[in-house]
Symmetry: C2
Subunit: 234 residues, 2 copies
């Protein structure tokens, strides 16, 4: 009997936004794995922490701060080997994922290394997208809207094309691209229908009209929500 | 002291995919409201049912089967009046929402009628989008992908433009538009990278390569997921 790898969405930040299903798997998993920066705390581990009442074996997956398009393969190869050894020995492994595992998540790098040898189950989580909409007090999309999720690192032309074709837009991965995105939205006449949300559902959550946000950069855990028919949802 | 209206995401179908936060609010709300067809069962109510252990006052919101662009305003006016009376009397009201309240949800129609008079809190839920990705065993989007959510009722031209500009696409609200969407995806050479998911996380869940799906219509609770770089995630 081999173990099962669970990709466990732990939600966007508020520990109470974990699902009952993820909680049950988390609390019975003999092994947990979690992504983390080179040094310091794992956000996924921190979100799950109040719920971890047993004493699981823990596998940190510490990623170099990637500037390249593809993350460091060796780190995932090593993590997959460690996880695979537990699975082969019959121990389930819960891989903790911020938000939802398959929404721009790093879980895919474990999935593609494990799924041909062991059972893998993905448990969806509340994504930052839904959390930001709730925080911003307005619908993400409605009726027959086209909703596009657009990563900030794209070129200005690629951003413009994607935003042009959508009724509602979430620009994610802002960071140092924030100024570029704000300038483009201004050129497109969309700043008035745009809201900036940072750290949705966390203690330091903030929601501000984009027009009121200064500076050229933004935290990683932030996004801009645009609805071209802004008036439809105040 | 007035009550608070909670927009409560109850998730996509599996009752265990409710969050701890939504569960706590659900189980302490003296009043619950839920959308339903003209006759018969409410899906949102059915998803929440195993968790309703107290005996709340219940407000059904029965919508005519809408073929028009805007739902029947009178039904929401009436529901908002009933909910408002409870809020004014100091009773919290939990409005149950399938999936996530602000992801193409009808909660916005209550929100816009209530939010200027009473406190409203939206509790995000697992949307059908994340549930379908988990069921389909592949990432919804990754890295710098543009992800677009596209409603099936749009015209072929509008669908084509939206799909053209995205790396990953979720076509929702398929119903009688399924045949039109499949024909378009075939013309665009994308059937091989498309998966069909119906009733994600429910007992009758199915996930099938789009190429293997027959017929011209699909259930309401289905979607097509396309990833243009399909090979990247098998």
């Amino acid at each position: 009997m081999t173990g099962t790898l669970y990709g466990l969405g732990v939600g966007p930040g508020d520990p109470d936004l974990i699902t009952l299903k993820a909680l049950r798997i988390l609390q019975s998993a003999p092994v947990i794995a979690w992504p983390a920066p080179p040094k310091g705390e794992s956000l996924a581990r921190a979100i799950a922490a109040p719920h971890i009442t047993h004493d699981p074996i823990e596998i940190p997956i510490r990623m170099p701060l990637a500037t390249s398009r593809f993350p460091d393969r060796a780190v995932y190869d090593e993590a997959a080997a460690a996880i695979g050894a537990h699975l082969a020995a019959g121990r389930d492994v819960a891989a903790l994922c911020e938000g939802d595992p398959f929404f721009y998540g790093s879980f895919m790098y474990l999935y593609e290394r494990i799924a041909d040898r062991f059972p893998v189950v993905t448990v969806p989580g509340i994504s930052s997208l839904m959390a930001a909409a709730a925080a911003s007090k307005g619908p993400l999309a409605a009726r027959n809207d086209v909703l596009s999720v657009v990563p900030g690192p794209l070129s200005v032309d690629a951003l413009r094309r994607a935003i042009d074709q959508a009724d509602c837009v979430a620009v994610i991965k802002l960071g140092r691209h924030f100024g570029k995105v704000r300038t483009l939205l201004a050129e497109m006449g969309l700043v008035g229908q745009a809201r900036y949300v940072a750290h949705a559902t966390m203690a330091n959550q903030s929601t501000i009209p984009l027009a009121d946000v200064d500076g050229d950069s933004a935290p990683y855990f932030s996004m801009i929500l645009v609805h071209k028919r802004g008036a439809a949802w105040r």
